[in-house]
């Protein structure tokens, strides 16, 4: 894994900010520290990230879609058919 300094250089951010990010990932178990060697990606990292994105990011996006649909008075059937249409289009490509 990149060090905080390499990350700072890559994204033009303060290394302290990069370190903070790395620590957050470590807290969640996505990264782990090896003393004197730096940060490493844990074996279950992919699962954890997928789980997090499914449960938090995707859920939140769906919530917003539903809220917006309510505001525009779009019926449930209409919304579902829109999603299905998009899915088939993506699948074809």
């Amino acid at each position: 894994m990149y060090s905080q300094y390499q990350l700072a250089d890559m994204y033009t951010i303060n290394p302290a900010t990069a370190a903070k990010g790395l620590n957050l990932l470590a807290d969640e178990g996505i990264l782990y520290k090896k003393r004197g060697l730096g940060m490493f990606v844990s074996s279950e990292a992919k699962e954890k990230i997928l789980f997090k994105r499914k449960n938090q990011t995707l859920k939140r996006l769906v919530e917003e879609v539903v809220l917006e649909a309510n505001r525009l008075q779009v019926s449930n059937e209409e919304l579902l058919s829109m999603i299905k249409a998009l899915q088939t289009k993506e699948g074809n490509q």
Binding site: Y11, T12, I13, N14, A16, T17
Partner: protein, 301 residues
């Protein structure tokens, strides 16, 4: 180790207070953003740190020494601003040679590389540069000096967007290569917030907050929606900023610690838009002059 320590410093210019009982300290090798509105006292503070001026009251220590009239502090610090003066007889190359003689950490390859990159020529004269070029050159001097304490006062005045971006990247890269204590003053935080570790916010010569940038980003939330709902949800909460949108919509900002996560989720379900407030806006809200918003001026008429 603390590089700068200020305790209750005040500075008066004739009868006008520029700084009032300012207390803070800056740790070694951190990039600190000195943020404040025009006239908040940023320049005065930097001049005090450089030892150009004396505090009217209070104690200021830089490298554990009084900076005024101090050769040691002068040798280890540099203040870069748009009024840096250089002899008219010296061209840019000569000025760089002089800086190299004075600052023993001076890194000539960096200076020459930057000079070349920004298309400044060595035989040109400082007083014939454009405003942006002047800032660029001063910045090069500030970076290549590699002083343990480097102070930038509004370093990007006159620079175009591309040069500003290059400058920030150059600053960060050289900081990574050669860590040092940097204070960067600016009135627009959004442009520099990615570079900063800490933010020192001053208003009317007083220190409003001194926090890591991360905490400033997390500090506030904004709530937007129908006036009636907002009133109901935000009862008894301290509002930092409020702006009316139309007759029955409102935009309010409050500290994150004022509301719990459950309360916010509840508010969202009731149709309010909850958003985090970025560091730059947070600072604007904090340094508000207390005279309401600009709209009020127009609403009176």
């Amino acid at each position: 180790m603390k590089i700068i320590e200020c305790r209750d410093i005040s500075k008066m210019y004739f009868r006008q207070k520029a700084l009032e009982q300012l207390t803070f300290s800056i740790e070694e090798n951190k990039i600190t953003g000195l943020i404040g509105r025009n006239g908040a006292g940023k320049t005065t503070l930097l001049k005090l740190i450089s030892g150009f001026i004396k505090p009217t009251a209070g104690e200021i220590k830089v490298f554990s020494e009084q900076p005024f009239n101090n050769l040691f502090v002068s040798a280890n610090s540099i203040l870069v601003d748009d009024s840096m003066s250089f002899p008219a007889a010296l061209n840019l190359g000569d000025i760089m040679d002089a800086a190299a003689a004075f600052y023993s950490n001076w890194h000539q390859p960096l200076a020459e590389g930057l000079l070349d990159y920004f298309s400044l020529e060595k035989y040109k004269y400082h007083n014939r540069l454009s405003k942006g070029q002047t800032s660029t050159f001063n910045m090069i001097i500030g970076l290549a000096s590699r002083c343990p304490l480097t102070l930038f006062d509004e370093p990007t005045i006159g620079m175009d967007a591309a040069v500003r971006k290059d400058f920030y990247r150059a600053l960060l890269k050289d900081y990574l290569a050669f860590p040092r204590t940097i204070v960067l003053s600016s009135h627009h935080l959004e442009e520099i917030e990615h570079l900063l570790e800490d933010v020192l916010l001053i208003k009317n010569g007083q220190c409003l907050l001194h926090l890591p940038i991360y905490d400033v980003k997390e500090m506030m939330i904004s709530v937007e929606g129908k006036l009636a709902i907002a009133d109901q949800v935000l009862q008894e909460k301290e509002i930092i900023y409020e702006q009316s949108i139309g007759t029955n919509h409102v935009h309010r900002v409050l500290l994150r610690e004022e509301a719990s996560v459950e309360e916010l989720q509840g508010a969202e379900r009731m149709g309010l838009k909850i958003r985090p407030v970025n560091a730059s806006d947070a600072c604007v809200y904090l340094t508000d002059k207390g005279k309401g918003v600009i709209d009020d001026v127009f609403n009176k008429n």
